[in-house]
Amino acid sequence: MNKLTVHFTLNQQSIRLETLAARSLLDVLREDFALTGAKDSCGGDGECGACTVLLDGEAVNACMVLISQVEGRHVLTIEGLTPDGSLHPIQNAYVQAGAIQCGYCTPGMVMATKALLDHTPQPDETQIREALAGNLCRCTGYTKIVQAVQFAAAELHHDN
């Protein structure tokens, strides 16, 4: 297995990393940077969305991106949502709606929500459900999660 040097931006910081080329972005985030918000839940199948991060502003499963593929790109994880670690309005909305229970899917849900609201600030319920179709929750239930996205959309819209 070969090594390579990758340059990318991680939560607004420039990174230069020498690592084994066949590692996934998810493994690098969790093991090298201790950014454990993104989770492995389905074993790298792209089924569950728990490892959702933003790559150049688009939601992707970090388990399905090899580290070589982030060369020159911007990666945003849930830890980078706000500069000071305070809760982002989307996170507050999830709390307010009671859309967090075990919390395992939450970072992925929040990042998928961010990608949606960045592109579509006022989504209808169908758009919300479609945008989150790749994020599985096995305990809270989707009704409150959809509500949380609606709260977040209203809050962010109000702020602007």
Binding site: M1, N2, G49, E58, M64, L66, Q69, L116
Partner: protein, 290 residues
């Protein structure tokens, strides 16, 4: 971690040089090959070629009545293309039904074709559009009809050292309607139990000038149903005609029993789906006449 080497191709020229290596496979969006390598070890390349830096293979453009789509164009980019919305809405519907947003943001059209799944969603509409793929190698470029490109489950006619560079089809003429319909186990994120795509061109008398009918998940590869096309050509659209086409189509498809559905269920639902797809496409073609 995946047990393999990763080579990054910095240019198409470099890609053709690395592709000479017999055990090399291209890593495009990675949505099929990475889970495949992790899970059941069906796919065992020793070298993956990362093509993520080849931005020149990601585009959608129209030139002299022909639409070209670069192999690395993602499904997300395809489904937001005004050009495709105007000329190939069935392709948009098909690509929109692939996986999740996360998958569509990574998965590419070229990857969907080269993966050669019998259930590949983008293939039936492209078969209806009579799409042609361009295969490039270090010293050659050749064009192959999509219907000849996929030769079996997971198998294409790509030869050692070749890569798929783009997909092309002619802009459909006026009075054309297209549709795509897919039956899965649930609405989102599912692999097709049966899919169908139809392209109908209506003449000035309101008759079907020509028809293309394609299916996914009912044969070793996505296929065209020439019997259904013949049954439709020259006729006036009606529920009766569509029902006849659905009967005739059965001679062209040969589905299997698998974990998603039985052969019998597929035979039945392919007919139902085709009739709906024909209705939608004809309606669209008639709207296109006004």
């Amino acid at each position: 971690m995946i047990d393999c080497e990763v080579n990054v191709a910095k240019s198409c020229t470099e890609l053709t040089q690395i592709l000479i290596e017999p055990s090399a496979r291209i890593l495009a969006g990675g949505t099929d090959i990475l889970p495949g390598m992790r899970k059941n070890s069906i796919i065992k390349p020793i070298t993956l070629i990362d093509v993520s830096q080849l931005n020149e293979l990601s585009y959608i453009c129209e030139h002299e009545g022909q639409i070209d789509i670069g192999a690395l164009t993602t499904h997300s980019k395809l489904i937001t293309s005004p050009l495709l919305l105007q000329h190939a809405p069935a392709l948009i519907d098909a690509c929109a039904s692939i996986g999740s947003t996360q998958t569509r943001n990574r998965g590419t059209l070229g990857g969907n074709l080269c993966n050669a799944s019998p259930a590949a969603d983008s293939v039936p509409p492209l078969l209806c559009l009579e799409a042609v793929v361009t295969l490039s190698s270090h010293d050659n470029q050749r064009q192959v009809p999509l219907s000849d490109f996929i030769i079996g489950p997971g198998q294409t006619c790509l030869q050692q050292g070749e890569y798929l560079s783009h997909i092309s089809f002619a802009v459909p003429q006026k009075h054309t309607g297209t549709s795509f319909m897919k039956l899965g186990r649930r609405n989102g994120m599912s692999i097709a139990v049966v899919s169908t795509s139809v392209l109908i061109c209506i003449d000035q008398n309101g008759n079907i000038e020509y028809a293309r009918v394609a299916f996914g998940s009912v044969a070793p590869t996505p296929i065209l149903s020439h019997h259904a096309e013949t049954a439709l050509t020259g006729k006036t659209p009606s529920a009766q005609l569509f029902s006849e086409a659905a009967q005739t189509m059965l001679t062209d498809i040969n589905p299997i029993d698998d974990l998603r559905a039985s052969r019998e269920y597929r035979l039945h639902s392919a007919g139902v789906l085709l009739q709906r797809a024909l209705q939608t496409a004809c309606h669209q073609a008639e709207m296109d006449m006004r």
